[in-house]
């Protein structure tokens, strides 16, 4: 008599789990492949599930073997191929689990989804927040799993070697960066205080010691030419010392406070290092980031996603000598432009005060042509799509308002000098309008070229540079 053939079988870490169909139930056995001995025999009790349903579930499930050899048949959501690994996302009893099969070692390991999932270093804080939300809710809410599968991709599996190598680099970079930032902020914060105190200290030193010195000199040498000259020369010399001393004393005070703060920062970093060492006990981290990304049309180093959009202020090619400003938003559509773009399609959206306000998708061909003719740009800011949407909604509302005004026969006023000009009547020009809108995103436009003061004339091109110049500039941390 022929032995009964299994209907399904899985190989897991040197064991084979075979499922056999008996008349109206399923039975499985766990077999040690090396010895061929049956390690465990049993049947899975699928409560309330028909045999047909069980059979169809087996097609899409992964097996986890307990210490005693009993098997757990877990539903698989997603499979990924990552270099030397095959990664499956499966549903455990209390949490989602990553089933990681190494092609090199032929070993399958099971990692807790919640503990192992980690946003890649390129992720924007808002994207990290979304990942955390998915992490916490996806076991209960299956829509979050769909979101995870649709919108995110696994970048890599971080094993202990990668973790240790990168951890060292990260620690060094992080410490240097944090320390530099801290010192810079400390001095920036105290700049006015130092300036005021250096003058105050200089004046006090000069007044107190100068008075005493000149009194004693005139008392000793008399009030004649020699006495007066000596006291004048000594006062001049003293004033130099007082100025240097006046500057050094507050500088030393701020320096002392800064170094104290730096020590605290160092302690904190030591603590963080301990935390990192603790983390190393976790066998693997699975780094994820938004699945679909696209490079910015201004600078291919800038990557946008549906969660993080790039906001840039441009000038030109239109306007007086290219002095027409507009806000450009680039990103992957997240259904904000419903009906205009397909979901996750790269878009360029242009908002400008012409007048009236115009806000529309920038035709890509037209954009390329305008780039050739001469567009200048500001720095590009990476902002979460949610925040940008708030700004775009505000622009849309203002646009509607202006349209109503035009329909009523009113005219929208614009002043080339800008709203800050003392020569004008406080009306916006294209740039000051855009700058006000960007303030909604906490963007403060820095002036980067020499030009007239804003109180006379706000010249948009003073705030932008050429695309080529932008490509030469060092890019801050990329966030998607």
């Amino acid at each position: 008599m022929d032995p009964i053939q299994p209907i399904y079988s899985w190989n897991v870490n040197g064991y084979e789990v075979r499922v056999f169909q008996e008349q109206d139930y399923l039975e499985y056995e766990t077999v040690d492949i090396k010895s061929g001995k049956i390690f465990f025999k049993g049947f899975d009790n699928f409560k309330g599930v028909t045999l047909e349903e069980m059979l169809s579930r087996f097609k899409n499930c992964r097996v986890m073997i307990e210490d005693n050899g009993s098997a757990k048949f877990l539903q698989r959501y997603h499979t990924l191929d990552l270099n030397n690994y095959e990664v499956n996302l499966i549903k455990g009893t209390n949490d989602l689990i990553w089933d990681v099969f190494s092609n090199l070692t032929q070993i399958t390991s099971f990692i807790s989804f919640r503990e192992s999932i980690s946003p890649s270093a390129r992720c924007h804080p808002e994207t990290v927040a979304i990942i955390n939300e998915i992490k916490n809710e996806c076991f209960k809410d299956s829509s979050q799993i769909v979101r995870l599968i649709d919108d995110f991709k696994v970048v890599r599996l971080v094993d202990k070697v990668i973790f240790e190598n990168e951890g060292k680099k990260w620690k060094a970079n992080s410490f240097n960066k944090q320390l530099n930032d801290y010192i810079q902020n400390s001095f920036d914060k105290n700049r006015d205080w130092m300036l005021y105190n250096s003058w105050a200290t200089s004046a006090t030193v000069l007044w107190a010691s100068g008075g005493a010195l000149s009194t004693s000199l005139t008392a000793y040498l008399g009030t004649g030419v020699i006495g007066s000259s000596a006291s004048l020369v000594s006062l001049l010399a003293l004033s130099q010392f007082a100025m240097v001393g006046g500057l050094l004393i507050p500088l030393a005070y701020v320096g002392y406070n800064t170094s104290k703060g730096a020590d605290e920062l160092f302690d904190e970093l030591i603590n963080n290092e301990r935390k990192i060492n603790d983390c190393q006990k976790t066998p693997n981290l699975i780094e994820i980031e938004p699945k679909l990304t696209a490079p910015s049309s201004f600078d291919p180093r800038i990557i946008v996603s549906k969660f993080t959009w790039a906001v840039t202020l441009i000038t030109g090619p239109k306007g007086d000598s290219g002095n027409h400003a507009a806000i450009i938003v680039e990103g992957l559509d997240n259904a904000y432009f419903n009906g205009v773009n397909t979901n996750q399609e790269y878009f360029i959206y242009k908002s400008e005060f012409n007048p009236p306000i115009r806000a529309r998708i920038y035709d890509k061909k037209k954009f390329q042509r305008d780039l050739l003719i001469g567009i200048q740009k500001s720095e590009t800011w990476m902002i979460s799509s949610e925040k940008v949407e708030v700004m775009l909604n505000s622009i849309e509302q203002e646009k509607q308002l202006q349209q109503d005004m035009l329909n009523d026969g009113e005219k929208i006023k614009i002043d080339y000098k800008g709203n800050e000009s003392i020569l004008g009547k406080g009306h916006h020009n294209c740039f000051t309008w855009a700058r006000e809108k960007l303030k909604m995103l906490n963007i403060d436009m820095p002036k980067i070229k020499f030009g007239p003061p804003d109180m006379l004339l706000t010249l948009p091109k003073c705030y932008t540079h050429t695309i080529e110049e932008g490509l030469k500039r060092e890019l801050t941390v990329q966030q998607i």
Binding site: S321, R369, I412, D415
Partner: protein
């Protein structure tokens, strides 16, 4: 009545003639320079000519207003509203005529200030002056020069010219890169 009139410019045929001629000049230039690349020279020429014309008509306007005021004042005893007419005559002589003098003095300053935009973006300057002249002509015909309505219309000038100019630039760029 005098207070109300004092801020206005007296209806003047010299001004009307000036705006009539300049409006035609700039509209002609605007229409005929749609395809032109080299605009600076014709625009500068036109700017010089129009400012000369403004100076001439402005000077004529001073004489016109003065004599008009003198005429109204001299004929006032023979009219029904003697006092009112005399007031209007005095206003023309002592308010509007000096204002016209100031306006004429201001023309060379305006000329110098205007040279910069004419050189930087001649087409925009042409469009702006053409629109400005259209508004001025309209108010000169109505006799409401320098009235609040006129001031308001001039305030909105840029909002009319800017989109027009941008449209013009759009067409120019399309001509430059027809394939894109």
């Amino acid at each position: 009545m005098l207070d109300q009139w004092s801020s206005f410019c007296s209806p003047s045929y010299s001004y009307l003639v000036n705006y009539e001629i300049q409006s035609r000049m700039y509209n002609w230039l605007d229409e005929n320079t749609e395809e032109t690349q080299w605009l600076k020279l014709p625009a500068l020429g036109m700017w010089c000519a129009s400012n000369t014309l403004t100076t001439v008509t402005g000077t004529a306007g001073i004489a016109e207003v003065f004599f008009k005021g003198l005429g109204i004042l001299a004929t006032s005893p023979f009219t029904n509203n003697r006092i009112d007419n005399a007031k209007i005559g005095l206003c023309e002589i002592f308010v509007h005529a000096p204002k016209n003098v100031l306006r004429t003095i201001f023309v060379p300053i305006d000329f110098l200030c205007g040279i910069i935009p004419v050189c930087v973006e001649p087409k925009h300057a042409i469009m702006k002056v053409a629109e400005c002249m259209r508004i001025n002509l309209l108010h000169a015909k109505k006799g409401t020069l320098k009235s609040p309505k006129h001031e308001n219309d001039l305030d909105c000038l840029q909002s009319i010219v800017k989109p027009k100019f941008m449209k013009y630039q759009g067409k120019t760029f399309k001509r430059l890169k027809p394939d894109l």
